[in-house]
């Protein structure tokens, strides 16, 4: 078993309590995740009894959320799961997360369990597409302080952070989201959008159809401070806690077949590092 490179709280261990929100069967908490399992799509976050698939949410509607977790420690854990929502964003900060609710979770050694329902009435003004973030913590395996909310590097977190759109062949799609600096000092980041070509087991619940490729030259990123859009990559410097609105535009290939799907992922990297610190997915169903 390997601890994440950071953000694992530093308290859990296999002889005590070792919590994981699993992204795949036998996910023992090693982070970063294998490439087949994008950290922005976790099937352990359930909405209405099944993994949240990015479906549109209607303000005023009450839904039931639940979170699945496992304890790879030797001792039974009394844990608590917390669910947050956020506007579409590649990374979460204290300012960007909105508390939804909590649920207790008893986890025996090597046992997987799911919380009881966490009832949530979707507030007015909530966008159709949001990010759901789940956290699991226990006194014997607490999250790192201050909270990182970083599903990419911390087994205590998971996110379901996918925007699902429909488009016709040849259509230009546009979506907006935020990137943010969750750290405590001014930091340089770069954002890169790529397509996913592989058939991802972890995306089956949101990606039942075959994926088509999209050329990177057809993906553009734009921020309010940039007069011109950048081709699929963006460098920014963000102050502590600062967030920045980004517009992603992409051209659906004219020869894309209706029924196919385009999957893009926007990954946020810290300058000179090669592991993303955040990201989100965009799924475009071609109609």
């Amino acid at each position: 078993m390997s601890n994440g490179t950071k953000g694992d709280g530093g308290k859990g261990n296999p002889n005590g309590v070792y919590l994981v929100i699993p992204y795949y069967p036998d996910d023992m908490g090693s982070r970063p995740l294998p490439s087949a399992y994008p950290f922005w799509s976790c099937q352990s976050i359930h909405l209405g009894g099944s993994p949240y698939a990015g479906q549109k949410l209607v303000p005023g509607q009450t839904v039931e959320l639940a979170v699945e977790a496992i304890n790879y420690g030797a001792q039974t854990a009394s844990a608590v799961c917390i669910v947050f929502w956020a506007n579409p964003t590649t990374s979460f900060t204290n300012a960007s997360v909105n508390f939804i609710g909590t649920a207790p979770l008893t986890l025996a050694a090597h046992a997987v369990n799911i919380t009881g329902p966490i009832s949530w009435t979707i507030p007015e003004g909530t966008p159709e597409h949001i990010c759901l973030l789940a956290e699991v913590t226990a006194p014997a395996d607490p999250i790192q302080q201050p909270a990182t909310y970083d599903a990419a590097t911390d087994r205590h977190y998971a996110q379901q952070n996918v925007q699902v759109l429909t488009a016709t062949p040849g259509q230009q799609i546009r979506i907006g989201f935020f990137m943010a600096n969750p750290g405590v000092v001014k930091t340089k980041y770069w954002l890169e959008v790529t397509h996913l070509a592989a058939s991802h087991q972890s995306l089956r619940h949101i990606l039942p159809r075959s994926a088509v490729l999209i050329k990177t030259q057809q993906i553009h990123l734009k921020t309010p401070s940039h007069a011109r859009s950048q081709v699929h990559k963006l460098d920014v410097e963000l102050d502590r806690g600062e967030s920045l609105e980004v517009e992603l535009s992409a051209l659906v290939p004219a020869d894309a077949k209706p029924g196919s799907t385009i999957v893009l992922q926007a990954l946020q990297y810290q300058h000179l590092r090669h592991q993303p610190v955040g990201g989100l997915g965009v799924v475009v169903h071609v109609i």
Binding site: V17, A74, G101, T102, P104, A109, P142
Partner: protein, 570 residues
């Protein structure tokens, strides 16, 4: 030595097997089968004679005293957790709606209980410390044969399992004249059948016999029992069901029914006429048996502490606090090397159950004082760390409910509840790992227990020698081979526990019961396969005969030269 669930399951399986065999048409057999249906408690008691004898003697019933003492402290801890839950609920409800009618009074009433709870925690800590001081690391009585002792010095548990049990089966059948007696006799037969086949399974997953791997054997027996409890519940039901059947409808102080006591005593005296220790007090065995079955159910965990209500939890999280973790608490224990989950490994450790719990509870008492103190300070109170805060106005409560101090205090109490719950869970786990309690359903996913739930790939090296006394029994032995080697069981790699009950066409209670009943009861001492003096520990393999050391041989000198015992030999 199979456990309660395996014994009662074997009774059901053997009853069904014989009822569906040609043997059922014979009068003694049909009478026995009917008697079991009419008097199931007697049959279960007959199946559990090995356990009754174990608990009839002090050296082999140490666990009852340990469980009794620990259960008392567990009960107090549960009560304290329930009290804390009620106080938390009241505080959190008040702080979620501080201007609601009665909120201030409810808050003050709840807060006034905190000092008493803090005292309770401290008292409980002292009790755990006392318990820890008297908690033996190795509580299982060694097996006389492994100590090179003569039979006359063995515990009756070991005499019964290692000598003439088949003769005892035949004798109870011969002596039983009433329906209750016949049910008891059938139970005694089924108990022997279960041990004969079940012990072979246990020996395979353990890597050696009970005499040289006592704790590992107990762990395996309880793991298999828990598996049967969860996967074959139609046979044995629950421990409460078994206990209830053994009460024979008695309330108050139950006594071993005199007719069954007489039958058991006569069968033991006639089966073991000489060469053994004096018969133990069977009443004591029966009383302890019931007590043990009751105690095993006294270690349930309360429901996990609920998080604060959404309003308060949301405010706590918005403050940047980690829900359920108390930074003040963590600072206080940062230098404490015994803090839970960091330096207290359970598997592979030799910490006592009480020790683990005590280590946790010592520092659990901290946040209550800190919380009271911090609220006092925040509101300008002067009652000190042991006084209860008493808010004088709704405005104070409104302020407190939004303040980092108040929210931190609520979070501390939640953390306290979580830690206390986890302390109990950890202590329970240690009791399971020490072989004192059955694993829970969830525990059976743990590799420590799953290893006992299927036959391992390598059973060729059997029997493995005893491990050093420091070994905790949770790992397959790394010791050398006790020569001469033999085969532990006929079961194939991967076979699950039900293999010895009904999963094998030629080596299960289901497959062999008819033959066994006939051989033991109708042809005792003959040369038929199950008419001999068979060893219920299956020490030298499934169906092997009881054995004694050859003249001049020692259990610790390899090869261990043995002599198989004749039917009449003790």
């Amino acid at each position: 030595m199979i456990d309660y669930f395996a014994h009662v399951s074997a009774l059901h399986v053997s009853h069904g097997a014989i009822a569906n065999s040609p043997l059922a048409s014979q009068k003694p057999v049909s009478e026995a089968l009917s008697a079991v249906s009419a008097q199931p408690g007697s049959a279960i008691l007959g199946a559990l004679v090995d356990h009754l004898l174990q608990y009839a003697q002090a050296p082999t019933s140490v666990e009852i005293g340990l469980l009794k003492k620990t259960a008392t402290v567990f009960a107090e801890a549960r009560t304290m957790l329930n009290k804390l839950a009620a106080v938390r609920l009241s505080l959190e409800t008040s702080m979620a709606a501080p201007t609601a009618p009665g909120a201030l009074a409810a808050y003050n009433a709840a807060a006034s209980e905190l000092p008493a709870i803090a005292t309770d925690f401290q008292n409980l800590t002292a009790k755990f410390q006392t318990l820890q001081a008297g908690f033996p690391n190795n509580w299982l009585a060694p097996v006389g044969q492994q100590l090179n002792q003569p039979v006359a010095e063995w515990a009756w548990r070991d005499v019964f399992l290692g000598r003439r049990t088949t003769a005892f089966v035949a004798k109870t059948q011969e002596l039983a004249t009433t329906t209750r007696g016949k049910a008891f006799a059938f139970g005694a037969f089924a108990g022997a059948a279960g041990n004969l086949i079940g012990s072979a399974y246990l020996n395979s997953v353990v890597g050696g016999p009970r005499r040289s791997h006592t704790l590992r054997h107990r762990l395996s027996a309880y793991s298999v029992g828990a598996w049967l409890r969860d996967h074959e519940p139609q046979y044995a039901g629950t421990l409460a069901d078994i206990r209830s059947a053994l009460l024979f409808g008695q309330s108050g102080t139950p006594a071993l029914p005199s007719d069954l006591k007489a039958l058991l005593q006569a069968a033991l005296q006639q089966s073991y006429p000489s060469g053994t220790p004096a018969l133990p007090n069977l009443e004591t065995g029966y009383t302890h048996l019931l007590e043990h079955l009751g105690l095993l159910g006294d270690f349930s965990l309360p429901a996990a502490p609920a998080p604060p209500n959404n309003t308060v939890a949301g405010n706590i999280v918005t403050q940047g606090l980690t829900l359920g973790s108390n930074s003040l608490l963590l600072q206080n224990v940062a230098s404490n090397t015994t803090s839970f989950g960091q330096n207290t490994p359970l598997i592979g450790s030799h910490e006592s159950a009480a020790g683990v719990c005590e280590q946790i509870l010592v520092w659990l008492a901290i946040p209550i004082f800190s919380w009271i103190y911090s609220i006092d300070v925040a509101l300008g109170g002067g009652q000190g760390a042991t006084g209860s805060p008493d808010l004088s106005s709704t405005g104070d409560l409104v302020t407190l409910s939004q303040s980092p101090t108040g929210l931190s205090g609520i979070n501390s109490l939640y953390s306290l509840a979580l830690n206390a719950w986890q302390a109990l869970a950890a202590a329970r786990t240690v009791l399971v790992l020490r072989g004192l309690l059955y694993p829970d359903n969830d525990d059976l996913n743990n590799p420590t227990f799953t290893q006992f739930l299927s036959i391992p790939s390598d059973t060729k090296n059997y029997p493995l020698l005893a491990m050093p006394s420091s070994d905790d029994g949770t790992s397959y032995p790394t010791s050398g081979l006790e020569t001469p080697p033999t085969s532990s069981s006929p079961f194939a790699f991967g076979a699950k526990p039900q293999i010895f009950l009904n999963g094998s066409a030629n080596a299960s209670v289901l497959a062999l019961s008819s033959t066994m009943w006939e051989d033991m009861n109708l042809y005792p001492g003959s040369d038929r396969p199950w008419s001999g003096n068979h060893d219920l520990d299956a020490d030298r393999g499934a169906g092997a005969l009881c054995w004694a050391l050859a003249p001049g041989a020692s259990i610790t000198s390899l090869p261990v030269n043995i002599t198989n015992l004749a039917y009449s030999a003790i």
